[in-house]
Symmetry: C2
């Protein structure tokens, strides 16, 4: 008689966004005529840039012709895309330590941040932020690195608490008496919108190098950074190429949530016990994955053209203007908030049960937000509002929320 992976029994509840969808569907059943506005899941709404569309079509056309048809592509991604990534995202930002063989193109940063833990021993110590993107936690639970949850926290994991005092940027000093082997960091942060300074990231790299630890750095939202003093890549910090893996995505940068393209940087300088981590990921990637759709890679590469960069910057600025509308509304309500600047997310302190606020705003304003508690214990009493929607919808949603909450 076959037996199941019992670690799944430990998973607390539905994946957050599945639970949000469930509540929204239930609400819609009784309110099918009202106009629901979603500032919840953090999904882009602006169409793809015209330069991207053009390249995407070209990629499809090549698949129509025997002479240009592409079957299986290189496991790591086409070299034209790797080269564009290295030049624009790294070399032009002074990260000369990164080269094409370090780039692994994939179909999503969610997949990569979820899968990367497979490369490590099952009994390593994992530290992750709280609040946190649930994928980091859930994939470690599935892999058996935790016990059951108690009071919203899995036994065996180390939680790096984000709070008002540290501005939701945990420090490695929290690990002084409780050392970790693998640390997940995400800046600009999902869900809090917090960014980390050069000095704060420098502390983390120094700590990792001294401990022989690895940092998994999720910078899926780096395109939203406008402040030149805030690092966009972990490789702007000297030594990071020896201890940090970086995850990037075209989803939020270029509106690719429905198109699916991302990449992971595994520098060749990372060695663990004489083994190159890059070789391990390459083995995993080529055994369990078969590359990204060729037309999609063509579309992704177009985001690096002169015109593509300009169009994408306009979209990012549009969402950042939405974020400003949200923070203005929160200010008018007298709520304390984080993010919204250098980030598409606004993290709001509401001082009540997050799902209660979620249900209240859903029922009373017909607006979907994300409950802070869905991101961890430290998210209780907070909500996340996303700037991804049309400006018209963001304005209307915030007017409704202000009306509702100022009553």
């Amino acid at each position: 008689m076959i037996r199941l992976n019992s670690n799944y029994d430990k998973l607390e509840s539905n994946y957050l966004f599945v639970e949000i969808a469930r509540r929204v569907n239930k609400h819609r059943e009784g309110n099918s005529k009202s106009k629901l506005i979603s500032l919840g899941i953090g999904d882009v709404t602006k169409p793809l840039a015209s330069t991207v569309i053009k390249a995407f079509h070209q990629g499809v056309d090549e698949q129509a012709n025997e002479d240009t048809f592409k079957g299986y592509g290189p496991y790591q991604g086409y070299s034209f895309l790797q080269a564009a990534i290295v030049k624009t995202d790294y070399h032009e930002h002074g990260c000369d330590c990164i080269d094409a063989p370090d780039i692994f193109v994939s179909d999503g940063a969610k997949c990569d941040t979820g899968n990367f833990q497979e490369l490590f021993a099952s009994d390593i110590k994992v530290a992750l932020p709280d609040p946190v993107y649930p994928v980091y936690t859930d994939t470690n639970v599935m892999a058996g690195r935790t016990g059951f949850a108690q009071n919203g926290r899995y036994q065996g994991l180390i939680y790096l608490e984000g709070n008002e005092n540290n501005g939701f940027v945990p420090s490695p000093r929290e690990l002084e008496n409780n050392p970790a082997d693998l640390v997940y960091l995400c800046f600009p942060n999902n869900p809090t919108g917090a960014t980390a300074s050069r000095e704060q990231l420098g502390d983390w790299i120094q700590w990792a190098l001294s401990q022989g630890a690895i940092i998994l750095y999720d910078s899926a939202y780096e395109a939203f950074i406008t402040d030149p003093d805030i690092p966009r890549s972990i490789y702007e910090i000297p030594g990071a190429e020896k201890c940090a893996v970086e995850f990037r995505s075209f989803s939020k940068t270029a509106g690719f949530t429905g198109v699916r393209c991302a990449y992971t940087v595994v520098p060749s300088a990372i060695e663990i016990g004489g083994t190159k981590l890059q070789d391990m990921w390459n083995r995993r990637h080529s055994t369990k994955f078969n590359g990204v759709s060729y037309p999609v890679q063509m579309a992704a590469a177009a985001t690096y053209s002169t015109e593509g960069k300009k169009e994408i910057r306009e979209n990012i600025n549009y969402y950042l203007a939405n974020a400003q509308i949200i923070t203005d509304a929160m200010s008018s309500l007298g709520y304390q908030y984080w993010g919204g600047l250098n980030s598409p997310y606004v993290w709001v302190k509401t001082n009540e049960d997050s799902w209660l606020t979620f249900d209240r705003i859903l029922e009373g304003a017909d607006v979907v937000i994300s409950p802070g508690s869905g991101f961890g214990k430290m998210g209780r009493g907070y909500i996340r509002i996303s700037a991804f929607n049309s400006m018209e919808n963001v304005r209307e949603a915030l007017e409704r929320i202000v009306d509702l909450l100022s009553k």
Copy 2:
């Protein structure tokens, strides 16, 4: 100090097709002017059908417009694609037990067959065919279900031997004294091209039901079956919906190797210890995956239109005619072979070390084939020749091989 997943140390060598590429690249360095023909990796060469191209373009155009733009899609795939799959691939073949919620659309059968084992306990007994698609084996090694390899076989795995006597269709009788919990089967088989009869598959289903075992059934090549007596789906066998998961792909059926779309069927009737396997896969899928590119799903759905079906059938028949050229050539050489009928692969007995034959054909005929030993111990002394190439190339390649081997 962090430690790596030591199971990777057990992996014998490079993933087969990576090793083939390495040898081919080395050969090319000294022979850059000759015309190399690949009948190796099993990659399609015919361009996408025009109906598919049209739908693909339409999907891209929808991403260019705010009103039709699609962000994150449903984790399981769009309902229009699920519905087309259920109707055409199952209900029209009498498999009424399969319904839309059983269908999980993904970016590749390689990913799905590699990932599915995660749902089971780490100490279950796994049985897999020999010869076999290396992904089944390697992903179980990575997951820690084996010891090190000895003489080409991993300790802890059960090998179901395919040979001349059983026509490369192993029977569950091989497991009488060595029961397994999870069995991988693949028909039409990769690499041998063998197909299983209704009776042979019936034996497997009866065995799985009596043992409480699960069968992972890879039918990525079902479109090549022309004999009406050979089952195309495992669900044509009564009871399979209680014990079998089926993997399908658009890669070989519709030339999607560079486009990336596949699906996995997890029937709701499969329960293990009171848990629905479908719920487990749904949890895994929604936690570690974010859906398939929308334009790609549009393209995949077009393969089910009347015109699409016709165009795809023409391509399949083209490759089957290539297979005939290969089997004719092997007959003329007096070699024994399997497959080529109801399959794009021809499995040839050469009675010498497979890599030696591989190198001999590469050097002497400028043709890439696959060494049988790359698929397991029982593949030693065999080679796999793929029918995926232009008819002109297949003809030329086989002429060169016949010239070389008849000397």
